[in-house]
Each structure stands twice: as structure tokens, then as C-alpha cells.
Amino acid sequence: MAQILVVDDSSTVRDEVAGFLKRHGLDVATAVDGKDGLAQLRSDPKVKLVVSDVNMPNMDGLTMAEKIRGDLNNKTISIIMLTTENSPIMKERGKAAGIKGWIVKPFKGDAVLATFKKLVEA
């Protein structure tokens, strides 16, 4: 059972983020898009933190966040977007879906590790 689910259509980003978090002792699973992310959360409800891209094929990250709160009725999992986007409109949509934070790519693990650990230990 993973503590963190990393959702990104780029294997480069998945490997980079998941690899960094695993090296720092966290249990991490990965998903290739929002649809895959939702499926994995259905089968592993113990995940505490989702780190997701926004622009992805099949299902984007914001739609996935809305479905986590709606379809899965999961109000407690922390969701953080990791994306090249910085649009206020998208952020407002994310806030409405209850996402907890926003990171503009590229990923800098040292800048977020302590917060990620707090979120999975909460």
C-alpha cells in the first residue's frame, strides 16, 4: 500500500518524482493519467497524498481531483498539482476541488520533501 500516488503522463516526471520520494523512505505508486489515478485510488484507499500533473490525456488532473472528492467521496486525501500551468483560473478550479497546493514544474524535491512527509504522516 502506497502513501503517495504520483500521476503524470510523462515517464520522466514519474521516475524523477517517485524515485526521489522513494530514496527518502516514502512508499510511492505511479499512474499514467487521471483515469489510471482514480482506478488506483479505488483499489488502494490508504493513499494519503496525490501529486498530479494537470495536462494529461484521457483525464486531466483537475478533473481527477474533482472525481476524488465527488465519485470516490474521499474528502481527506491531500492533492497537490505539479504542472507547468500557473493560471489563476485553473488554481481557482483546483481550490474549489479541495486541492491543497500547487507546484510549477520543474520538480525540486528538496523544496517540498518536508511538507510531503507531514502530509502523509498527518
Binding site: 503522463d9 495536462n55 507547468t84 491543497k100 510549477v104 525540486k108
Partner: protein
Amino acid sequence: MITDRAKASFDRLLLSSLKSGMSFGGASVAVEPAASLEKIKEKKIVVLTVSSYLFRAMAILYFKPDAATRAYFNRNAAEGAPEVSDDEFLDRVAECGNVCCGSLNRDLGRYFPHVGMSTPNIIDRDCMRYVDLLGCGLLRHYKIVLEGQLTMYASLCVADYGTIDFHVDQTIEEDVDTGELEMF
């Protein structure tokens, strides 16, 4: 119609995004205009678009899957890491295009709040033979030299659906701290 100052502004924004997005592991990035598409012989391209109701901007990155290019895109790998597969290499180039175009998208979003960006697509360079069919009001090519040795190319193609007029100063400073977590 794209005004002259808007063309210059698109130009500055793309140059800035290439310089920031193409630097792996602190590598130097030099970008200069390239006169013609015919001189660009790379076989593959990554295409991304930033679109609004006024325009569609296509950012195109040309690359060769040769040893030097693969080594450059593997610069951030840990020492002793296995050689990347073909699929991993293509994904790294696509993600590099994503980061470059993401910067362009954020900068354009200051002037056109309604812009949206695509995911990256890797296609054959031969597709560029048909770029004129898009009715581009702006088509520019760029030579990118990485670490003073590796050469890649890029193009910016903007199809306009109305009058586009905006101005970007010479100095572009991104108002976002990349990699930092903004908590809500």
C-alpha cells in the same frame, strides 16, 4: 494580423522559454535566429501548442536521436544509472518541450488570460513541409547551442484569427518560483 511589436514579443518569449527550459544540469544555452527550415535536417520534432480564440502558437523542437543528444538529456541521471531506452529518451525530449512551452504558456497568459496548452506530440520532421497550410502570421526558426557543442533547432509558428497586439519588454522576469510549493 500580428503587429510587428507582437511578433517581436512572441520572439522574446520563446527565446526566454528555450533558455530556461533547455538547460539541463546547469548547461549553457545559446539561442540565435536560423534563417531557413531547409537547413534543419533533424528527423523528429516535438510539437506543443498554446491556443486562444485569437491565435494558435505552435512551439516545435527538432532533435536527432544520436548519442550526443541522448547524453545531454541524460545529464541529470545519477552516476552509474543505466542507459535510457528509446522510449525513455523520447519522453525526456517531450518533457523538455513541455517545460519550455509551459514557460511560454505562462508568459502569454499574462497578456491573454484564456490560453490553454496541449500535451507534447512527437512526429516526423517531414510534417513541417505542410506548415504553410496553417496560415501562419508568424513563422520563425531558431538554432540552439547547448554547452557550446550540441546543436538543436526550434520553430515558432503562430496562426492568427484576429488582430494580435501586445508588447513584452526586453527583460522578462518570470513571476513564479518554479519548484516551490504554494499551499492553499
